[in-house]
C-alpha cells in the first residue's frame, strides 16, 4: 500500500511511556493529590446511602419506627452533599493535573520533530507528526478523562464494599469473592488479544492522517490532472483499514463484556445463596442478606470500570507510546558558538553519498571569505543542492568538515548553526497567520520599525502596504493569497531579520517564475549586503555578480574563478553562459 518509502518516527516502549508520563504528572502532584483525595471522599460518601438503606430494611424487618427511617434519610442527604462536592472537585482537579502534562508532552513532540533533521521528518511524513500531536493527544485525553475517575472511585467503592460485605458476615464476603476467578479469567482472555489490535489501530489512524494531509495539500494538482479517484481512493483505503481495526477491537471488547456479565451472575448468585443459608441457619438477618445483595449489585459498575481500565490503558498506552517515542528523542544541544564578526566559511574535504557507493559529491575544498559571494552553478543534478545543504549544516556530509570562523558547524546543534548560516531554499511556504507572524519567526523581538526596514531592504514595502491591513493582513491558505515572488520576498526579509553572517541561497528565486525572478534577484542582492553567501543558481545573472563562481559537474568541481575569466576560458561555464544569455535561437 504505502509503507515502503515511509519510515515512521519511533514509538516508545511501555516502560519508557510510563516513566515519561509519571515525570510529567509529578510536576502537578498537588492537583493529583487533591484529585485522589476527592475521589476517596466521594467513594466513601457514596457508600453511606447503601448502609442507611440496610438500616431501613432492618428497621422494617425488626419492627423499627419512623424515627429510624428519618435518621437514615438524614445520613443519605449529608453523604449525598459531600459526595456531590467531592465529585465536582475531583473532575476539575484531574484536568488541572492532566491537561498541562499532556500539553507539555505534545509540545515536546513538536519540539523534537522541529529539531529533527528535515529529511527524517520528511521520511516519516507530515501526517505522522500531525497525527501524534492531534489524534494521539485526543485519545489520551479522552481515555484519562474516563479512566482516572473510574479507577479511583471504583477502587474506593470496591475496597469499602467488599469490606462492607465482610462486616455484614464473613460468609457473605467470601461468597462475593467467588466471582473473582471468573473476572480474572475474562481479563486474561482479553488483554493479550486486544493489545496488538490497539497498536494496529493507532498505526492505521496514522496512515489515514497521512493520506488526508497529502491528499488535501495536493488538491490543486489532483484537480489539474483529474486524479481525484486516486487521492480519494487512498483516503478511502486507509480510512477503511482503520475502520476495520476499530470494529475488530470493539467486537473483541463486547466478547469481553459478555464474560464480565457472566462473572456478575456467578457473584450475585453466590451472594444470594450464601444469604439464604445464613438467614436459614439463623446466623444473619434478612436485612443483612438484602444489604449484601445490594452491595454486590453496586459492585457491577466499579468492577466493570476497573476491568475496562485494561482496555483504556491499552488504547491510551498505545497513543502515549507514540508521543513519548518522539518526545524522548535526544534533546537538541544548547551550546553556543561565537564565530566572530567576519568569519570565513570553509569546507574541507567535503564529500557525500546518499547511499553507499553512489557519491554525489566528490571530496572538495571551498572557502567563502567573509563578505564575499560564491556562486555555485552547474547542470541540474550536479550536486549543487547537496553542497548548499552541507555548507548550511542542514545535511551531515559523509566525510569532511565545515567550519565557520574555526567552529565545526556539524558539531553543534543545527538550530545554532543556522543562527550564523541561514538557508533559503526554493520551497515556498507562507505560514498561517499575518505578515507580521511570518516575519517574527526570524526574530521574535523585532519591532515594527525593524520589520518595515527588512521589508524595505527586500523591496516589499509597496505590496505589503497595499494589503488590506498591511502587516496585520492574514496571508496564505487562510487569507490573502501571495504570489510566489512575494512569498520569497518574505523569506528574504526573514533572513534580514535573522541577520546571520552567512547565507546560503539555494535556487531561492527559482519558484518565482520568470517575470518575478529579476525583482527577486535584486531583493536577494540587497538582503545579502554585508554578508557572505553561497548562491546556488541556474540564473547566471547571479553568478555574474558573484565574487567567485564554482562550476559543479557530476559532483566534481570542474572550474573555479571570476565570471569574466571563466567565460574567456571557453569551458563548461562559458557554454552555460552562452545558453543562458542567448536571445533564443542565436546561441
Amino acid at each position: 500500500m504505502t509503507g515502503p518509502t515511509r519510515e515512521l518516527l519511533p514509538v516508545a516502549s511501555g516502560r519508557d511511556a510510563v516513566r515519561r508520563s509519571w515525570s510529567l504528572l509529578r510536576s502537578h502532584v498537588g492537583w493529583l493529590a487533591v484529585t485522589v483525595v476527592a475521589f476517596l471522599v466521594a467513594g466513601i460518601a457514596g457508600l453511606v446511602p447503601v448502609l442507611m438503606i440496610g438500616r431501613v430494611v432492618d428497621a422494617a424487618a425488626s419492627g423499627g419506627d419512623r424515627s429510624d427511617v428519618v435518621t437514615a434519610v438524614v445520613g443519605i442527604v449529608v453523604a449525598g452533599l459531600v459526595a456531590a462536592v467531592a465529585t465536582g472537585l475531583s473532575t476539575a482537579s484531574l484536568a488541572r493535573a492532566v491537561a498541562p502534562a499532556l500539553a507539555s508532552l505534545r509540545e515536546a513532540v513538536l519540539e523534537r520533530a522541529l529539531h529533527l533533521p528535515t529529511a527524517r521528518v520528511e521520511a516519516a511524513g507530515v501526517g505522522d507528526v500531525v497525527s501524534r500531536v492531534g489524534d494521539d493527544v485526543r485519545q489520551v485525553t479522552e481515555s484519562l478523562d474516563e479512566a482516572v475517575p473510574a479507577t479511583v472511585s471504583s477502587a474506593v467503592t470496591l475496597v469499602f464494599t467488599v469490606g462492607g460485605l465482610f462486616t455484614l458476615d464473613w460468609r457473605l464476603g467470601l461468597a462475593g469473592l467467588l466471582a473473582a476467578p471468573s473476572y480474572l479469567l475474562a481479563v486474561r482472555w482479553y488483554v493479550p488479544r486486544s493489545a496488538p489490535l490497539y497498536r494496529d489501530e493507532r498505526q492505521a489512524q496514522g496512515e489515514r492522517a497521512d493520506a488526508l494531509v497529502t491528499g488535501v495539500q495536493g488538491a490543486s494538482t489532483v484537480r489539474a490532472f483529474g486524479r481525484e479517484d486516486d487521492a480519494v481512493g487512498r483516503i478511502e483505503q486507509t480510512s477503511a483499514a482503520a475502520l476495520a481495526v476499530t470494529l475488530r477491537v470493539f467486537t473483541l471488547f463486547t466478547r469481553f463484556g459478555f464474560r464480565m456479565n457472566m462473572s456478575e451472575l456467578v457473584g450475585m448468585a453466590a451472594v444470594l445463596i450464601a444469604g439464604f443459608w445464613t438467614v436459614r441457619s439463623g446466623a444473619g438477618t434478612v436485612g443483612e442478606a438484602t444489604a449484601a445483595a445490594l452491595f454486590f449489585h453496586r459492585l457491577f459498575n466499579p468492577i466493570g470500570a476497573l476491568l475496562f481500565l485494561f482496555d483504556t490503558v491499552q488504547a491510551a498506552g498505545a497513543a502515549t507510546a507514540r508521543l513519548v517515542g518522539v518526545a524522548d528523542l535526544p534533546a537538541p544541544r544548547t551550546d553556543r558558538i561565537d564565530p566572530g564578526t567576519a568569519p570565513d566559511l570553509t569546507l574541507t574535504g567535503v564529500r557525500h553519498a546518499y547511499e553507499a557507493g553512489r557519491e554525489v559529491l566528490a571530496p572538495l575544498d571551498l572557502t567563502v571569505p567573509a563578505g564575499q559571494v560564491v556562486a555555485v552553478v552547474g547542470a541540474t543534478g550536479a550536486g549543487k543542492t547537496t553542497l548548499g545543504s552541507i555548507a548550511a549544516a542542514a545535511l551531515r556530509p559523509s566525510g569532511g568538515v565545515v567550519r565557520l570562523g574555526g567552529h565545526d558547524l556539524h558539531a553543534i546543534d543545527e538550530a545554532e548553526a543556522r543562527r550564523h548560516v541561514a538557508l533559503v531554499s526554493q520551497e515556498v511556504h507562507v505560514f498561517a497567520g499575518t505578515v507580521r507572524d511570518n516575519l517574527l519567526l526570524a526574530d521574535a523581538e523585532a519591532t515594527d520599525d525593524d520589520l518595515r526596514a527588512a521589508l524595505t531592504t527586500v523591496l516589499a514595502t509597496a505590496w505589503v502596504d497595499a494589503l488590506p491591513s498591511g502587516l496585520d493582513t492574514v496571508v496564505g491558505d487562510h487569507g490573502h493569497p501571495l504570489t510566489s515572488p512575494q512569498a520569497q520576498q518574505m523569506a528574504l526579509a526573514r533572513v534580514v531579520l535573522a541577520d546571520p553572517r552567512v547565507v546560503v541561497l539555494d535556487e531561492a528565486t527559482a519558484e518565482a517564475g520568470s517575470s518575478g525572478a529579476r525583482d527577486l534577484e535584486r531583493a536577494a542582492l540587497r538582503a545579502l549586503a554585508g554578508r557572505s553567501a553561497v548562491v546556488i543558481a541556474h540564473r547566471l545573472t547571479q553568478a555574474r555578480d558573484a565574487d567567485v563562481v564554482v562550476v559543479l559537474h557530476d559532483g566534481v568541481v570542474v572550474e573555479t574563478g571570476r565570471h569574466d575569466d571563466l567565460v574567456a576560458r571557453e569551458g563548461r561555464y562559458a557554454a552555460l553562459w552562452r545558453a543562458w544569455s542567448a536571445e533564443g535561437g542565436r546561441a
Binding site: A60, G80, T254, R255, A432, L441, G513
Partner: protein, 575 residues
C-alpha cells in the same frame, strides 16, 4: 478592498444543511442497523433495571421463607435475566458501534470528496484544520447514535421503574415520575455552560493542531532561518490555550457531575423516606422496599446519563455544524453543460477584465506553441485561474472551442484542456507512477515524454530507473528534478490544449534549451496546442508566436526574434 474572489459566483453542489439536518441525515443512513441495535440496547437496559427487582423477589420468596425449593425456583429467573442482558448488550452495542464508526468513515470520505472534488472547494481552511474536521469532528457527529440509543434506553428504564413503583405504591410512583423530570430539568441549568466550553475547547484544540501541521509543512523554510524556537513558542502558546480550555471544560463537567450526584441522592433520600415509612408501617412488604430503593438507587445511572447527554449532544451538534459549513463551501470551478464545438479547441479571450487583468485579448491557433510574457506575476496567476475555470471574468469573454470557460461541462473541459499548476504536488510512488499513474502510456510514448521534458536524466541517475521510489512531495528529489518530472507528467496527458506556467524556472540554461526544443517538438508533432507562460528566451524562441502582456492587456505580438527589436521587450525577457 473587495475580497480577491469577488466576481466568483457562489456555487455549491449541496444545499447548506443545518447541523440538525446533518445529524438527521446520519441517523437516516443507518436506520436499519440502528433499528436492530436500539431494541437490543433497550432490552439490555431493562434487564439491568430488573436486577434489583429480581433481588427483591429472591429475598421475598426464598430468603425469607428459607425453603430450598423456593431458592431453586427463584435462581433460574436470575440466570435467565443475566443471559438476556449479556447477549442483548453484546449484539446491540455492536450494531450501534458499527453504525457509528461506519458513519464517521462516510463523513470522512465526504469531507475528502468535497476538498478533492473535480471542481474543487473554496474553503479557507489549512490542511491541518481539514484534518481535524475529517478525524475528530467526523468521529464526534455519529456519537449521537450512542447518545440517542442510551437516551431511549434510559427513558424506557425510567418509565418501567415508575410503572413498577406506581403498581406498588401510587405516592412513591408519582414521586419518581415527577422527581426524575425535575432533576433532569435542574441539570439543564449547567448544560449550556458545558456546551459552550466544549465548543471553545474543540476550536482551540483544532487550531493548535492546525498550527503544528502548518509548521511541519513549512519545515524547510522554518529551519532555514533557525526559526524553530520562535515557532515552538507560538505553538506552546496555542497548546496552553487549548489546555486551559480543556481545564475550563472539565470544571464545567465537574459542576454538572456534582449537581447530578446531589440531585439523584436527594431523590433517593425522598424515596427512602416515603418507602421506609410505608415499610415500617407495614403498608409494603420488605421485598418491595428492597426493590423500590434498589431501583431508585439504580436510577442514578440513567439520570446521570441523561444529564450528560445534552452536553454531549452539544459537542456533536457543534461538530455537525462545522462539517455542514465546510461541505457547503462553494465549488472553485464553475459548473455548466456547455461543450466546445466538435473538433475545435481554440482558446480565446476577448477584452477580459478580472483583478489585475485589464482587457486582455488573445486567441490560440490550433497546433501552435503560444508563449505569453507577463510583466506582473499576479497577472499570470489570474490568467491561469481564469483558464482553469477557477475565476469568472468580470467582463469580456473567455471561451474554449466557443464555449464559455465558466460554463464548461467538466468532462469536456478535461478532455480538451489541461492547466498544469506551477507547483505540481508529486505523490508517493515510483518515477513511473509519478509520470504515468495509470500505466497507460506505451514504452515509446513514455520515452518521448521523458525526452521532451529532459527527465530521462533523472531516471538514469538511479539504478532502479523508472521503478525508483519517490516520497510524497518528491522531497528526495532536487528542485530541478521535481520540475522536469512535473513537466513530464503534464506532457503525458497529451491534452489537445496544454497550459504550462514557467516550466523551466528551476533548471539550468542548457537543460532549459533541451526542454524548449523537446516540448515544442513533441506537441507540434502531435498537432496539439500549447500555451506557455514564461519569459525564458529558449521557450520564447521555440514558440510560434509570443504575446506580451503589459498592465494587464496584450501590448505586442509576434515572433520572439522580431520582438527583440523592441527595447521594452528585450528588457522584459533578456537576462
Amino acid at each position: 478592498m473587495a475580497p480577491w474572489w469577488s466576481g466568483v459566483l457562489a456555487m455549491s453542489d449541496a444545499p447548506t444543511l443545518t447541523p440538525a439536518a446533518l445529524l438527521r441525515r446520519s441517523l437516516r443512513r443507518h436506520r436499519r442497523s440502528l433499528a436492530i441495535g436500539y431494541p437490543l440496547i433497550v432490552t439490555w437496559q431493562l434487564c439491568e433495571t430488573l436486577v434489583p427487582v429480581v433481588i427483591g423477589f429472591v429475598v421475598d420468596h426464598s430468603i425469607r421463607t428459607g425453603r430450598v425449593s423456593d431458592l431453586l425456583e427463584a435462581l433460574p429467573a436470575l440466570v435467565l435475566l443475566f443471559l438476556v442482558l449479556a447477549f442483548a448488550y453484546r449484539f446491540g452495542s455492536r450494531f450501534v458501534e458499527r453504525s457509528t464508526e461506519t458513519e464517521a468513515h462516510r463523513l470522512r470520505l465526504e469531507i475528502a470528496g468535497h476538498v478533492l472534488h473535480p471542481r474543487g472547494a473554496r474553503a479557507d481552511l489549512l490542511p491541518g484544520e481539514i484534518q481535524s474536521l475529517a478525524t475528530s469532528d467526523a468521529d464526534l457527529v455519529p456519537t449521537v447514535f450512542r447518545q440517542l440509543g442510551y437516551t431511549i434506553a434510559s427513558l424506557t428504564a425510567i418509565v418501567v421503574v415508575a410503572a413498577y413503583l406506581l403498581a406498588v405504591d401510587v405516592v412513591i410512583g408519582l414521586l419518581v415520575l415527577l422527581g426524575v423530570p425535575a432533576v433532569l430539568a435542574l441539570i439543564q441549568v449547567v448544560s449550556p455552560l458545558v456546551a459552550r466550553r466544549t465548543a471553545a475547547q474543540q476550536e482551540r484544540t483544532a487550531s493548535a493542531t492546525g498550527l503544528a501541521a502548518d509548521l511541519v509543512q513549512g519545515l524547510r523554510p522554518l529551519k532555514g532561518i533557525g526559526g524553530e524556537d520562535v515557532a515552538l513558542r507560538r505553538y506552546r502558546a496555542a497548546s496552553r490555550t487549548a489546555s486551559d480550555a480543556t481545564i475550563g471544560l472539565a470544571r464545567s463537567w465537574g459542576y454538572l457531575g456534582g449537581l447530578t450526584a446531589a440531585l439523584s441522592t436527594a431523590l433517593l433520600a425522598a424515596v427512602t423516606l416515603v418507602a421506609g415509612t410505608a415499610a415500617v408501617e407495614g403498608r409494603i412488604t420488605l421485598g418491595e422496599l428492597v426493590a423500590i430503593v434498589g431501583l431508585t438507587q439504580f436510577l442514578a445511572e440513567p439520570i446521570g446519563a441523561l444529564g450528560d447527554l445534552s452536553a454531549q449532544f452539544a459537542g456533536s451538534r457543534a461538530a455537525a455544524g462545522r462539517i455542514a459549513a465546510f461541505l457547503a463551501t462553494p465549488r472553485l470551478v464553475a459548473d455548466g453543460d456547455d461543450v466546445p464545438a466538435t473538433g475545435t479547441s481554440t482558446l480565446a479571450l476577448a477584452d477580459v477584465v478580472v483583478g489585475p487583468v485589464r482587457g486582455l485579448s488573445l486567441t490560440t491557433r490550433d497546433g501552435e506553441l503560444l508563449a505569453v510574457v507577463v510583466d506582473d506575476p499576479a497577472v499570470g496567476d489570474t490568467l491561469l485561474s481564469v483558464l482553469a475555470g477557477e475565476r469568472v471574468v468580470e467582463s469580456g469573454v473567455a471561451v474554449l472551442g466557443g464555449a464559455d470557460l465558466s460554463r464548461l461541462d467538466l468532462a469536456a473541459r478535461r478532455a480538451t484542456l489541461t492547466v498544469a499548476p506551477h507547483h505540481t504536488t508529486i505523490s508517493e510512488g515510483t518515477l513511473r507512477s509519478v509520470v504515468d499513474p495509470d500505466g497507460s502510456l506505451s514504452e515509446g510514448a513514455l520515452a518521448a515524454v521523458l525526452r521532451a521534458s529532459a527527465a530521462q536524466d533523472v531516471v538514469d541517475l538511479h539504478r532502479d530507473g523508472l521503478e525508483r521510489r519517490v516520497r510524497a512531495e518528491g522531497t528526495s528529489l532536487s528542485g530541478g528534478q521535481r520540475q522536469r518530472l512535473a513537466l513530464a507528467r503534464a506532457l503525458a496527458v497529451d491534452a489537445p490544449v496544454l497550459v504550462l506556467h514557467d516550466p523551466t524556472s528551476a533548471v539550468d540554461a542548457v537543460t532549459e534549451q533541451v526542454v524548449a526544443d523537446g516540448v515544442a517538438g513533441l506537441r507540434r508533432r502531435a498537432g496539439r496546442t500549447t500555451v506557455v507562460l514564461t519569459s525564458s528566451p529558449a521557450l520564447l524562441q521555440a514558440a510560434d508566436r509570443v504575446v506580451v502582456v503589459r498592465d494587464g492587456r496584450a501590448a505586442a505580438e509576434g515572433r520572439h526574434a522580431d520582438l527583440l527589436a523592441d527595447a521594452a521587450y528585450r528588457e522584459a525577457v533578456l537576462r
